[in-house]
Amino acid sequence: MDTKHIRNFCIIAHIDHGKSTLADRMLEVTGSVDKRDMRAQLLDSMDLERERGITIKASAVTVYHVYKGTKYELNLIDTPGHVDFNYEVQKALQACEGALLLVDASQGVEAQTVANAYLAVEADLTVLPVINKVDLPHAQPEVVCEEIENSIGIDSSDASRVSAKSGLGVPELLDRIVEKIPAPTGLPDAPLRCLIFDAVYNEYRGIIVYMRVVDGTIKEREQIHMLGTDKVYEAVELGRFTPEMKRAGVLGPGDVGYFISNIKQLGDVRIGDTMTLYKGPKVKMLPGYRPPMHMVYADFFPTNSGDFESLREGLATLSLSDSSFSFEAVTSEALGFGFRCGFLGLLHMEIVQERLEREHDLDMIQTAPTVTYKIKLKDGTLSEIHSPGQLPNPDQYEEILEPYARVSIMVPAEFIGNVMQIAADHRGTYVRQEHLSPTRVQLLYDIPLAELIYDFFDKLKSSTRGYGTLNYDISEFKPSELVKLRILVNGNEIDALTSIVHKEQAEFRGRSAIKKMRKEIARHLFEIAIQAAVGARIIARETISALRKDVTAKCYGGDITRKRKLLEKQKAGKRRMRQIGNVDIPQKAFLAVLGGDDED
């Protein structure tokens, strides 16, 4: 198809503002899928996405729309909406000329909306504001338009108004996409350049590469050179997502589709890489993506130490479709061999863990997440540490720096007081506040990232009745009075539970951690002491008394089966356990240094 009849766009929005629903409706309105085949959130292929109701992986789909008698190819790239997935959003943006900025008509502009809109503006895309859920009783499209103008500075006077749920306004929106979003500019006979913006692994087909043709034309049976990894693969199959994979044989400039070559080497495909013709004219690599910033690190250990290799394979496969996390082998005295993984944020970490367990049937123990610290050594050099265990003794370094985040929080004005309180509790420094509309406020704080990942998200949600949203950018590393908090079980230090905390908080955090552990560890045949220590000083202790009585009084012929089942159920929880010293410690206890649920 001629590039002037192609439009490539994505939808950016805050979580729950109806992005996936709008994508579904577009598929339906353009006749790409039968109404009766319609599953909610058709584009989200992973079970996990559907269960959590959020999109975690950009997906692409081609639909056809007839505008003024001409057929147009619209390539829609669905993007994730959560703060953790900025990197995925960026990849999607690179493959587009335009973006729909979708805002819920009753929720208004939220932190993530702003963050993603800025990304789109930065990427030089044409941004079309779309107000969703306009048919709901609490819809205030005018107020929302005002908020968009005040916060992002995009003219919203003629914003599209739709109901993604009912389909109201969707045909008009499709027309508008054709009218407003620029056509791709590549030429069909220019030297080939394709951008890899995503990839998934399929057991039978190998790696399925999601790509956008920028210049030139790609045909099946051509030898294709991946410039970044310097690998050559034949284009065995080329096609589009309609949404099911449909073979096309040839893809021209502006086309968005897939490339299959039975690639089994996971390292050969890199998101952001440029594909060109092997032995064709030399081309310049397309601008690479900003590398993902790993601000949160956690260690994964196989529950069963024999599963180490399976875990490595699982991580490698997963990193293919999610290039935004990193992993490297580590050893823990307590937990054996495992991997230290870097994530974009907390939700990202949870999703990776769940996908490993679900898609690769791995049973893992995960340690509490930690941030990256920098230490200035006596000789003035800086070194990074990604795990609290790496922190040397205080006499071996000059100072320790921790990452701070510039946090933007959007809340209804009535919650300002609550937000100020939790910011203060998390060592936050007030920067400024801005009124977006008479009832909504944006607050800016500088908060240590460690505090953000400890329990700031949870506390913000609960203290603003779910209305508070936030986005953050890492601003700088600042010196801080930090100490190493160690946890000991019967005198054995559990390296996986070591954390770095502010001096003032050490006692409180230590006490809270061992209280949680006390609840998670079952009684044993002997007494168990759980201690929290800073340096050589024990700052808190909990004791789990020895199990002395555990016996059923009655066990006759009618009781045996039921009794056995009850006992089996009690042992079922054994799976995610690790033995340290001779104490069985369940997975949950390894998360005790995480925040949340403080009871006293």
């Binding site: 059923t552 009618g558 054994k574």
Partner: protein
């Protein structure tokens, strides 16, 4: 491999496998479900007697006996429910029919009937003896009227003692008394006094149970509502130790965790359960083990009657544990007994034939932990392991495939 438990077919459908009468000599359990009132701690299948058609149920149980009960059972246990609730006429008809079907009167070395004080007098005890019963088990449960009320029982302490005397004067020479301890608020000292009074009666057998808050009982609900509190572990342990000390002083052997008997007065029928032996149960809710398969009947009177009438089969579940599962089950059941268990006995009882015995690694670990000890190739729970018998069982179950 795990035990397969499958729901049985609907009433009109034939049973999944044709069942026959249990092999000659198999121990027989009879469940008579009616009680004067439902006790608040009791999770056995029992139904308060409110003028239901007891005859129809007795007929159905009798029909089930005709179909499956073994000839010449070695032991018979008539439980419930409260068998003594039945009139002498009902008991006569039922037990005469059971005799016609099984000839238990000449074959059984022990025939126990469970009785409650409010329905046991001299005449009934005499009649039970005449009908072939050799042993009575009387539910005292507590020596305090206010506790009996809390339990929801319908007799007084005085009636308990009277029932015991009636049984003795009727000529019953094999008597068991049931008691419950670690009742909320009870102290080990108070228990020691009560137990002393009961032991002074000179019963041949005593069953003393730590109070358990079983699911789906009134007590369980009261516990979760905070109306009752479970005794602290150390208090329960003190009760447990008082029980063992006093029974020993009275010349009773602590032959099982909750059971105490004079020489040769163990309940043979129950010992068979702990040997993981076979048995045939009839009546609503009754469980049988024939070969390696266990199965249980419906827990409802009218549906039970209807199913027996329609197809002769009232089973609602069946399971056949694997050889290893049987072996481990045999171990943890056998360890409840003071006589203990040997590895070869366990393999024989479980019909376990593989050359490698997976229990040995587990027993070695338990010996190392001081929970069991080995003397002359027999393993027994130690003083420490005794109150941890369920923990020991879990060690076996955790190793099951």
């Amino acid at each position: 491999m795990s035990a397969t438990q499958k729901p049985r077919a609907a009433p009109e459908a034939p049973p999944t496998a044709p069942r026959e009468r249990a092999p000659t000599g198999t121990p027989l359990y009879v469940h008579l479900p009616f009680c004067a009132a439902k006790c608040h701690y009791c999770d056995f299948f029992s139904v308060p007697d409110k003028g239901q058609d007891r005859a129809a149920n007795l007929n159905a149980i009798q029909r089930e006996a005709e179909l499956y009960a073994p000839r010449n059972p070695r032991t018979v246990f008539i439980g419930g429910g409260t068998p003594s609730l039945l009139s002498i006429a009902e008991l006569t008809e039922f037990l005469d029919n059971l005799e016609r079907i099984t000839s238990f009167r000449s074959s059984a070395v022990e025939v126990t009937a469970e009785c409650n004080p409010e329905s046991l007098d001299r005449d009934k005890a005499r009649a039970l003896l005449d009908l072939g019963v050799t042993r009575l088990s009387i539910g005292f449960q507590s020596l305090h009227d206010e506790v009996l009320q809390l339990f929801g029982r319908v007799h007084s302490v005085e009636q308990s003692f009277a029932a015991f005397e009636s049984a003795r004067s009727a000529g019953v020479t094999d008597l068991n008394i049931d008691l419950i301890y670690a009742i909320p608020g009870q102290t080990p000292e108070a228990w020691e006094q009560d137990l002393g009074r009961v032991l002074a009666l000179g019963a041949e057998h005593l069953s003393a149970y730590n109070l358990t808050f079983e699911e789906e009982t009134v007590f369980h609900r009261w516990l979760s509502q905070g109306r009752l509190a479970k005794s602290p572990e150390e208090v329960e342990l003190a009760h447990f130790e008082v029980t063992r000390r006093l029974t020993q002083a009275a010349g009773l052997e602590a032959y099982e965790i909750s059971n105490f008997a004079r020489t040769n007065r163990h309940c043979r029928h129950n010992v068979n359960y702990w040997h993981n032996g076979t048995y045939l149960g009839i009546g609503p809710s009754a469980v049988s083990k024939v070969g390696a398969t266990r199965g249980g009947n419906l827990k409802a009177i009218l549906p039970y009657n209807r199913r027996i009438e329609a197809s002769g089969d009232a089973r609602t579940w069946e399971e056949t544990p694997s050889a290893t599962e049987r072996l481990f089950e045999t171990w943890w059941l056998g360890l409840r007994l003071a006589e203990g268990i040997s590895a070869s006995e366990a393999r024989e009882r479980a019909d376990f034939s593989a050359s490698e015995d997976p229990a040995l690694a587990i027993t070695a670990g338990l010996v190392a932990d001081g929970l069991i000890e080995e003397t002359d190739a027999r393993f027994r729970l130690t003083a420490r392991g005794l109150p941890l018998a369920d923990y020991v069982a879990r060690r076996f179950l955790a190793a099951a495939p």
